[in-house]
Symmetry: C2
Subunit: 341 residues, 2 copies
């Protein structure tokens, strides 16, 4: 990575700040209107922030959960198991959360030392940033000069330890002068694309356009989109990928239009214990996320909804998975196993 | 049609009421929170209501425009051409608007009699309801017992002279006890599905679930959806169909999942002068429809957007076009010509 890239990453927004005493989280529910931080002083507060989506994004919730364990054992050294359970239950789909908790458990079971545990949480946080910078270089290298790209949800500094996964590729490709057009799906129901990705892109001075999620196929039919670039919440052993609802639809549309499809995620996103996509638990959230908006009714009160907040894209629709160890083109179980081992 | 079906249609909401003096339009911008009518006293007011989407839906704007001409010539018998131009310019994509204006021009050029013109507007309105009831029977007959269906946007009584096109098929199929599940896409950016279709379904006692538009492909991968049922704003001579943004994406997803795809539209929706879908003008609306919601910022101020409010579904993805003259399966230019002539 160039020093310019590092400087760029370091100057970016800090959604997760560990003060040494408390975990300060940029409250992503009120962006872009307000930049407000929440101070979490216990694992329960961190779990609430994850469940309530004050902090979101698969890598970011893993990092937050790691610090949550530090807060727990600092208050009561016997509370590790209880805090671990509460944090693990805060959201079901992203495996990074479980991966970070398991890594912290490994350290704790060996040391029972809060200082060592805190160091491990800081390391998870720092590693995520450096992995993202590496993935961004690898992903950007796949793009042609003058690339036209579409992304979904928010996978930027706000969703990670910094720089971002899919949005990190876009950041780096932009810095390299490779991009001719950037589109971002607004990402209903939570509008991560409109509220968060657009905010990050604007702060970086990257020109881009929002689309409603359902316009992606039409966009591809009207102009050549080279790559769809997305993050991941969990990648099964065979490469099937769970990500924000709407990702699968983008992959189906991309296949029809000759648009390539890239998943950008650190190795902590792989779940070797999950053979294929059908086995990934998909979080369902309440109907109110569709029937109300900021407290106002946008559908008749009490109307029902089917609100899965993730979906599964089969490996056959994915052209490349980019992780910090390398690029897996046309992913298969064997290629993934080879890279992870 | 059964007398029960007629009674059902007549009891439904009346979005367009011609009092003989003014055109009263149910203001669809404030539904479902408020049921407020706008009184239009001139063609310019009707054009504003169409452009501003107080009244929307391809058949409904055709009907409203016909009454707009009556208001114009009643005030000044020399104003037909001016009113015609203003109304025709109010929205570009739906051909029904132009079709209704052309039909009114034919009558006016022969009679120059306001009473005759008014009678024609009432006839267009009444015919639309009876065409819808006929299409609903034809479309419902295509569904299997226990059908699971997905619709998009609003194509019900609110979008038409009554009963609805695609939603009319769902109404009639429900009355026949044929439906096992109904899903409705919320239809960003204007939320016609959440605000209007859900409201109509709830009033009719039809159980249904909303989905975010991007969840359609995932829904189809998780459970068998038999039919996607949509309306149309314009059907080209070869069967390519312009409809609400997101329709094309549904057709692409349907093809992958073995879900059939039905377009329901009266013959006034066909445009024989338009050879194929690329020639249909697609309305682009402002970025604010994506960056603001009810006056509040949901994206950074000034952020750009690509906001086409319709898209084009190629005929090859359409299994059946249902119009009041019959059903065209696997539409082609020849089959469409045969039905229209």
């Amino acid at each position: 990575m160039t020093s310019q890239t590092v400087a760029r990453a370091q100057s970016a927004v800090q959604p997760i700040v560990w003060t040494g005493e408390v975990l300060r989280l940029l409250d992503q529910r009120v962006l872009p209107a307000q930049e407000r931080y929440l101070d979490c002083k216990s694992a329960a507060e961190v779990a609430d922030a994850i469940h309530g989506m004050a902090v979101r994004g698969a890598p970011a919730i893993g990092i937050a959960a790691a610090y949550g364990l530090v807060l727990a054992v600092r208050a009561d050294s016997r509370s590790f198991d209880r805090a671990d359970a509460v944090l693990a239950a805060s959201r079901p789909t992203a495996i990074n959360l479980r991966w970070a908790l398991a890594r912290m458990r490994g350290i704790w079971s060996r040391s029972h030392d809060v200082a060592v545990l805190e160091k491990e949480a800081r390391r998870i946080h720092q590693e995520d940033l450096s992995q993202n910078l590496r993935m961004a270089e690898l992903g950007a290298a796949l793009l042609p000069q003058g690339a036209r790209v579409l992304t979904h949800c928010n996978t930027g500094a706000l969703a990670t330890g910094g720089h971002g996964t899919a949005l990190g590729v876009i950041r780096t490709a932009h810095a390299q002068g490779k991009l001719a057009a950037v589109y971002a799906g607004e990402t209903r129901p939570w509008l991560q694309g409109a509220r968060l990705t657009a905010w990050e892109l604007q702060r970086e001075g990257i020109e881009a356009k929002l689309i409603v999620d359902s316009a992606a196929a039409y966009l591809m039919s009207r102009e050549k989109i080279d790559w769809v670039i997305v993050g991941a919440d969990r990648i099964a052993a065979n490469g099937d990928t769970a990500n924000k609802i709407g990702t699968y639809m983008l992959a189906v549309a991309a296949q029809r239009h000759g648009t390539r499809f890239m998943v950008v995620a650190p190795t902590g996103t792989f779940d070797p214990n999950c053979a294929s996509g059908e086995l990934i638990p998909i979080e369902q959230r309440g109907a109110e996320e569709l029937t109300r908006f900021r407290g106002e009714a946008i559908a008749p009160p009490g109307f029902d909804a089917f609100n899965p907040v993730f979906d599964v894209t089969p490996a056959e629709l994915i052209d490349a998975i980019v992780c910090e160890r390398g690029v897996i083109e046309e992913p298969t179980a064997a290629k993934i196993r080879a890279l992870l081992n």
